[in-house]
């Protein structure tokens, strides 16, 4: 167990949450994508987290993004016959992104990031406190 193991763990979590936030940003950015009937359309991306052992220890683990997967929910169909991507019935396929859901996920990711920052801050604080024992 090294001195800076907690830093490594918190750092891995920060990196993972950043990936999650990047994906949410991508989802929101592509929320209004449409596609021609039959073409591939943007699918909501999700990050899967998995624990990963930090060096020198098997019991204490950090976290990593093990995979980025697509949400297989069918695209949202909106009736809009004048749209160039409308199909024969006048329906337009929009990306399967729900902005409300994404905002909630964004809040969760942001809070998780803050929580990991707090652990980082606290471990730094106690290290500096420990150094003050000698003075």
């Amino acid at each position: 167990m090294g001195l800076f193991e907690s830093f490594q763990i918190s750092g891995s979590a920060l990196a993972a949450e950043r990936v999650r936030m990047d994906l949410i940003a991508a989802n929101l950015a592509n929320a209004n994508n449409t596609a021609r009937p039959g073409d591939e359309i943007f699918q909501r991306k999700l990050a899967l987290f998995q624990s990963v052992p930090v060096d020198g220890s098997r019991d204490i683990s950090g976290v990593k993004v093990s995979a980025i997967v697509s949400d297989k929910t069918p695209p949202k169909l909106v009736y809009d016959p004048s749209h160039p991507h409308a199909n024969d019935e006048g329906m337009v396929a929009y990306a399967n992104v729900n902005p409300i859901l994404e905002m909630v996920d964004l809040i969760a990711a942001s809070r998780a990031y803050q929580a990991n920052l707090a652990t980082l801050e606290t471990s730094k604080e106690i290290m500096l406190r420990a150094l003050q024992i000698s003075t």
Binding site: L3, F4, F7, S10, G11, L14, A15, R18, L120, K124, M127, L128, L131, S134, T135
Partner: protein, 99 residues
Amino acid sequence: MLHGINQIDMLVGKAQTQPLRQAGGDGSSFGDFLTEALEKINALGEESQSKQIAFAAGENIELHEVVIAMEKYSIAMDLMLAVRNKILEAYQEISRMPV
């Protein structure tokens, strides 16, 4: 009388001078330990600097990684300073000792 002194001489001759390095137990002296620790701190410093440069150059590196590396270096430096201060204190304590 002389015989007695000779005996003491023999004793002195037999007394092995204890090398300082045995104090550590595993053949490494305190000095080696300090040098090793300093090298590690230096490595942390180099890591911190290279990450800062990489970040400033716009390479694909996370900001928190840079800050964590800097923080590691700073804490290691503080620890080193605390150790140095203790050693100096001990030295001064000894140098003040009335003979």
